[in-house]
Symmetry: C2
Subunit: 99 residues, 2 copies
Amino acid sequence: MTYGCIASMKARPGLRDEVVSLLLGAADGLRQAGCDLYLVGLSEDDETTIWVTEVWRTREQHDASLELPEAKAAIGRAVPMLTGEFTRQDMAVAGGLGL
Amino acid sequence: MTYGCIASMKARPGLRDEVVSLLLGAADGLRQAGCDLYLVGLSEDDETTIWVTEVWRTREQHDASLELPEAKAAIGRAVPMLTGEFTRQDMAVAGGLGL
């Protein structure tokens, strides 16, 4: 089974759209790094939470992607716009539709 | 923006794989009901939690899908295998990769 994770983060007030733009801008290079799905969503429960669901061919490719210079640069720009509250669930992908 | 949701459920001990099979079996008909993504994952934190991430063209199509006879039958078979602990996050899909 492939590796997946579901993560959440919270943007500081008024900055959610800017963080989402950063995340979407970083998505371009992920395919060749081994990513099959990268889904960014805005919580409807509040105006600060962002959900990211990812599927990777292997967990090692996911971990390695965080060390890419573009990823580090994007993370560096995003962190000051975030509250520091994160959640993350790792999972083994069983399958589904649209992958 | 399209509608998405991230849900979790917990299977009774030893029944997670059976519930996952039910969920995956129900995935076939979802595309024509308006579903673009239906991702089923097994939590790596424990042996009971199942995560489901969905993307639908509209929220109305998602809600209507729960009323389909096949869906009701699958839910009826799954419920006795679940603990009753659910979470669900609704979201507006901002975009990403692989959709």
